[in-house]
């Protein structure tokens, strides 16, 4: 690590590393809930499907833009790592892109074709969401093991590839608890409970397996005093899982009306898990091979984007909040009028 963080050549790459992390986290949480809704789409009756889609309709496009920002920041701030990362991830990236294409277009086609073709586009919406979520999980897994090519490296990647869709389903079902009512909302509570256990199991497994695969990551977590000040992360995560479970049970029994608690708690779980992964990887862009400073673009180019980002990012946040406020409350049927 360059010792002097007052030098632009040191703090600018760090700024963009953090910004890239925020973009990826925003993507995982925001597109996570709408991919989750896609994963759950075929588990309910047809008349509920339109309402599920209506709950994500005004948002999915902007949600997806965060991944363009994430990969864009990788590309612009760390051009020397960008090529390596994306060629290493070639197949999962291709799968994810095809999944996102199918998902995005099915959203529009399903309401515009005639009734007999609607099940096809519903299925493609589900399939696209599934392919994209599994592929993203595999990508995260490969990133953590530093693209290790051995058999176990791939097993780990696929393990994450199974866990992430469970997490997205949890986000999606708690989103539906927040945005829908009646029969669909009751179903969503059931889905949330099932995906909660799957997600908790997944987070646990990945947390144990990650240090096993990387001695370097092991050294960052399981040495004194790190283990002490890091211990709130797993403990808090466990407490949040319990909170989600309790709050859904309370909603089911009618003891509580706070429909926002499960979703907010799940978002917090994602934040903590993300922080855990980010801490494990830092300061590498390619684990064990290239640090963020080695991969950084020219300082002058980073400055050009830095000033733009400082002005534009808050503006984006303001109008994103505005859009969520316009569509605040329970979802209503989608209409262009």
């Amino acid at each position: 690590m360059p010792p002097d963080l007052t030098a632009p050549a040191a703090w600018l790459p760090l700024f963009f590393f953090v910004a890239m992390g925020i973009a990826v986290l925003s993507y995982v949480v925001l597109d996570g809930y709408d991919l989750g809704v896609g994963l759950l789409l075929n588990r309910t009756a047809d008349h509920n499907k339109d309402m599920m889609i209506a709950s994500i309709g005004p948002f999915w496009d902007a949600n997806e833009t965060w991944i363009v920002l994430g990969v864009g920041l990788l590309l612009v701030a760390f051009p020397l790592a960008h090529g390596t990362v994306l060629t290493e991830l070639y197949l999962p990236v291709t799968a994810m892109l095809i999944g996102l294409i199918l998902r995005g277009v099915s959203f529009d086609f399903r309401v515009k074709v005639n009734t007999s073709q609607k099940p096809l586009w519903n299925f493609l919406f589900y399939l696209g969401s599934l392919i994209a979520s599994v592929a993203q999980g595999v990508m995260i897994g490969r990133l953590i093991v530093g693209f290790e090519s051995g058999f176990l490296g791939w097993v780990f990647a696929f393990l994450v590839g199974i866990c992430l869709p469970a997490g997205y389903a949890l986000l999606g079902s708690t989103w539906l608890i927040l945005k829908t009512e009646g029969e669909l909302q009751k179903q969503a509570m059931g889905w949330a409970k099932v995906s909660l256990w799957l997600t908790a199991g997944g987070v646990g497994l990945v947390s144990i397996a990650t240090p096993y695969f990387s001695p370097e990551i092991m050294n960052k977590w399981f040495v004194m005093p790190n283990i002490l000040w890091l211990s709130p992360i797993p403990l808090l995560t466990a407490a949040l899982f319990l909170l989600v479970l309790k709050s859904i049970s309370a909603l089911q029994s009618g003891a509580s009306k706070k429909e926002w608690i499960p979703f907010v708690a799940v978002v917090a779980i994602f934040w903590l898990s993300f922080f855990g992964i980010a801490y494990s990887i830092f300061p590498y862009v390619i684990v064990g091979k290239m640090t963020l400073w080695q991969a950084a673009a020219a300082t002058e180019s980073l400055y050009v984007i830095f000033w733009g980002a400082i002005v534009v990012l808050p503006t984006i946040l303001i109008y994103t909040f505005y859009s969520y406020r316009v569509f605040w409350g329970k979802a209503r049927e989608l209409s262009y009028q």
Binding site: V68, L75, L86, E300, S323, V326
Partner: protein
Amino acid sequence: MIDTLLLSRIQFGANISFHILFPTISIALGWFLLYFKLQHNKTGDSSWQDAYQFWVKIFALTFALGVVSGITMSFQFGTNWPGYMEVVGNIAGPLLAYEVLTAFFLEATFLGVMLFGAKRVSQRVHTMSIFLVAFGTTLSAFWIIALNSWMHTPQGFSMVDGRAFADDWFAIIFNPSMPYRLLHMMVASFLTVSFLLAGLSAYRYLRGCRASANHAVLRLALTSAMILTPVQIVLGDLHGLNTLEHQPAKLAAMEGIWEGGKGVPAVLIGIPDPKTQSNRYEVSIPKLASFYLTHDWNGEVKGLNDFGDKIPPVAPVFFAFRIMVGIGLLMLLASWLGRWQLRGGRELPHWMAKGLVLMTFSGWIGVLAGWYVTEIGRQPYLVTGVLTTAEAVTKLPTGMVLSSLLAYLAVYVGLLFAYIWVVFYLTRKVDDKSIAQPSIIPTSASTTNPLGAQ
């Protein structure tokens, strides 16, 4: 030979060809929708509201296809062309970042308000949202065309240790070919949408629709095409002269000029043959190329042979250029004739309406042909004089690129057919009450929008 380079080029070509179809429509259609909305706000005439309600559906579908195919583009740089960002990342990076930051989020967020928020916000805010979406798509075109043009005519940078470093951002953004390419593309977008509007309106007309909204859109589309086609021809000519100055090898390929010299003939048609370095079956007009390129019958023009091996594949550039020009001339003829036939409230003859239906997507052919001219014409370079395409390509195994290419192609072909089918289906549905409504929850757009019933 089938290798990773060729497959990566085909894949990038397939991705970007598929992608550009949709922004080409959504850029100008956004502005047309804003016009419909403003006309409705101003006159209170419900025809404009009806026109908005119908075309916003096409817009939503088109926009979705543009977004998802665009995400693919952002990953392609890294997956297939890692050398690109490694060499010119300091230039390309900020331009792409500004596109995402200033345009993508703006259009994506206000698209939600524009499409689904009409009842939730005031009319003013809704109109403003349409403006912001149209503005966002245009701003996005500005940034990406600035970068693309810089790749054609790079300036404002210096090379240190094999990497490009920016010296002058104004020179980088407003590089020599940028104003021409941007204007040429913007007008191409408006022409594409003009013929889309005209084609689908003519289709409804042929199916018996006599709604005033449909007639108004048809007249508007033909008027806009009538004005813009000549403008486009002039812009294209200026762009060509700019290419002559900065990328003479590309221009020689467009014109099919192998031997340079004084008093060069204009090749109308022929088959360029790189082996003999001449055109087979050539039909040409003596000295004409010199005249329109240099404005002097004996002016000197360079030929392909003057550039050694740094020349693009000639035949694709030569033919794509002729296809683009042919589409342009057809558009000129169709728009002037059609608009003349509509004079004084007259109706379109059926044969003309059928012709316009056939030309519904003619803009796509022209736009693709034009981009093939300029992009294949830049070869063998990725960034003219700085980086060749072969230097930038990934080292991935051929089989991997082949499998992704086949997967993309299957998806793209399927979606392209689905898109064209749905566009015509939506058009039939407006006037045809007998087609069942697709949505189980009836959307008010499909139940209270009897365009044809007026």
